[in-house]
């Protein structure tokens, strides 16, 4: 599965176990990204949401 970093255009090759809503980090520019949709061979990525005050363990 392939995708592109929306920040720096870096190309990714993902493994099959990728999930929608999964957070990944772009190795190229360090951006935190989230998987918004998954189709056969195309992965849509967006910048991940900012940490909110009530996030945590």
């Amino acid at each position: 599965m392939k995708g592109t970093c929306p920040i720096c255009d870096n190309q990714f090759n993902f493994q099959d176990d990728l999930e929608v809503s999964e957070i990944i980090t772009c190795q190229e520019c360090g951006s935190r990204l989230v998987v918004v949709s998954l189709e056969k061979n195309k992965v849509d990525l967006e910048e991940a949401p900012q940490v909110e005050e009530d996030w945590g363990e």
Partner: protein, 284 residues
Amino acid sequence: MISIGLFHSTIRGDEKLIIKAAKKRKVNLKLYDIRNLILEKSFFPFDFDIALNRSVSNTKGRYLTAFLESCGIKVVNSLSVTQNCEDKFFTSLLLKKNNVPTIPFAIVFSLSQALEFVESVGGFPVVIKPTLGSWGRLLAKVNDKDALEAIIEHKNHFTSPHHQAFYIQKYVDKNGRDIRAFCVGNNVIAAIYRKSSHWITNTARGGKAFNCPINRDLELICQKASLAVGGGILAMDIFETKEGYLINEINHTMEFKNSEEPTGVSISGAIIDYCIDLFQKNKI
């Protein structure tokens, strides 16, 4: 085959491990993004046997659990455990009430009360933290009266009322490390040391994880603490002092992805097994 509803928002490394662990077992794991749900009976997809709440947002997680329990569904963790653990003051009160060794603490609402409390625990330093909060955010180690004044003045400029309740703890000298123990049901399944040159040792803040052997005393304090807040799947933050172990706080949606490797324990597997067990016990 039992099906577990995994309720999530963003999927972190922790959830990925849980998904992997479920695949290795005979369970049907169903993923639900909490952000896409309507918490009302006629809208809700009730097609699982037991719910595992892994919300990264405390607010969303708490409402989801309250909703599911009201519909008669078992949730890991339960609403009462969630409420007991998400607020540090509630946790501290329960620990104290149940004679679980913990750090001297108080809530105060003003500077003069803060000073009075600080004196009663032997003076500075103390730690001020938000009662609701995680990952070591907005924690302040306060070394003297000037700093205390500044912190309280700053906090008075926060608009949110929960920042106007100042939760203060005595500062504990913990030798550059603390312990995070992972408890599942009544078992302490693994523990790590978190080491850092900074006084905040969270792995989310750069602390490094090393295996921590579980001895009888550690096991006992964890079991007591777990009982005090209502059990379930919990991560305990523990300080080692000359006087013995002290529980700092308890987390009810634990992060563990950095701990499976150093401990060699499948924490994700234990989480899934606990859900299966709980469902089966509940059925009888």
